[in-house]
């Protein structure tokens, strides 16, 4: 069983085998940005891209990073720093995010260019 001690199982800890792989490096960050629609590279709302060539690189990556950082009220350095990693590792919904405009805005973003996905 999964180990717990409280009656309501509120202290239930999942097996390490079931932990999500944290985002710790540039490669996984690239995949994150692609997966959730932050890069210009197509991020189909479908199977997880397996090929690293599908992830953004170079200036595309930096721009995608900046967009993500602005949306999360982080310094838009375009570089993968500790705060950005922390933001990427926060619990989140699996639906891709909307595309943010180049300037940060507090208004509800427009409809995403990346489709949320047709009904399976």
């Amino acid at each position: 069983e999964k180990l717990f001690h409280s009656r309501d199982r509120s202290d239930l800890e999942p097996s390490p085998l079931h932990w999500a792989k944290p985002i710790t490096n540039l490669h996984s960050a690239q995949r994150f940005l692609s997966r959730y629609g932050w890069s210009e590279v197509s991020s189909a709302w479908g199977p997880i891209p397996k090929e690293s060539s599908e992830a953004p690189t170079g200036t595309t990556l930096a721009e995608a990073m900046r967009r993500f950082q602005r949306a999360n009220a982080l310094p838009a350095s375009g570089k993968l720093d500790v705060a950005t990693l922390a933001a990427m590792n926060r619990p989140r919904c699996g639906v891709p995010d909307t595309r943010m405009p180049l300037q940060a805005t507090l208004t509800t973003p427009p409809a995403p260019r990346t489709p949320l996905g047709p009904r399976p």
Binding site: P47, V95, D97, P109, P110, R113, P118, P120
Partner: protein, 429 residues
Amino acid sequence: RARPKRFLQMLLPRLGGQQEDSSGRRAIQAFSKKTLTWRLVSEAYSSQLSVEEQRYIFRLAFRMWSEVTPLNFREDLTAPGTAVDIKLGFGRGRHLGCPRVFDGSGQEFAHAWHLGDIHFDDDEHFTPPTSDTGISLLQVAVHEIGHALGLSHTYRMGSIMQPNYIPQEPAFELDWSDRKAVQKLYGSCEGSFDVAFDWIRKERNRYGEVRVRFSTYFFRKSWYWLYENRNNRTRYGDPLQILTGWRGIPTQNLDAFVHIWTWTRDERYFFKGNQYWRYDSDKDQAHTEDEQGRSYPKLISEGFPGIPSPLDTAFYDRRQQLIYFFKESSVFAFDVNRNQVLNSYPLKITEAFPAITPQNHPFSSIDLAYYSYAHNSVFFFKGNAYWKVVSDKDKQQNSRLPSNGVFPKKSTSGKWFDICDVHPSTLNM
């Protein structure tokens, strides 16, 4: 066979799906019917909560959206799976034939398909609303249902559609912006009402001084809402059943409410058909009999001689101490002190309450006449529209306005926001 077929359908351009407008932008599609069905798939229960808890939480999550949209949601346990609009399920890793694989505990906790199904990662620690640990299943469900309805992520503070899970207070609700976002897709809640009134309560403060407060109520069919004027919305969790909140009066389809309030009288009456009931605000129930021992309900013809029944609506004018009773195209002014109809009545409604703009008038069969203390005005409602009656203040600002004139009509949903029906199966939640 169904899973690969659905997977392939997902990869193909969806017929009637998102369409591009002339600028190449994709338009968000929405469900086209008002009542949507949902089901927690039996082969995809969570291992962490009882099935009843899971179903209750989803029922509540759907109801929260129903309270702010014209949509109703009904749990459907019997129809074929393909006929259910939104199916929900829990899974780990590869799950339920879904092309998006869950990643284990942490990071992704759920996803939803536009106009489609919702999946929860059962490696996450989902907890009921009462828990202060783990991830609130209710909050996640409300978020994912938002996606299923067509909403996207937003980083706006306070929105339920933020992509990251942010622990909320146990009493999280859909705020103004979330409501308007979904109403852009599905419209605002419309519909006529049977009765509306401001219920007066007298309270004493700590100095012993009597203070008067009022609560605004709207009634429709067998349920009612408390409307919070300062918040521009109904009370969270409404509507409620008349049966549970107002004891002793008819439980549906009321005709009118009148509060006779003078220095010497404080009497509240509900009307339906040819009868009326007096309500005891101290005991919070209808009177069973009057001071002379005569039982309620009583006949309108006896308590209010000269007034026909059934009525369309009524309101009490405190300044003139008259009750205006409305039936079809006529209005009757009833003097509560002399207990009789004024000699010059009945009149045509259009005569007693003339239109300021020609032909812009409810004319007859008014659904509701309501005096609002919040707006210090009388309003006539019919269908989805209301007409404001000229008040003393209006007259002071513009002396040319006819007394008791009726301003041009406006949309009710543009002044009293989000008074929405829910599916009857969720009324007792």
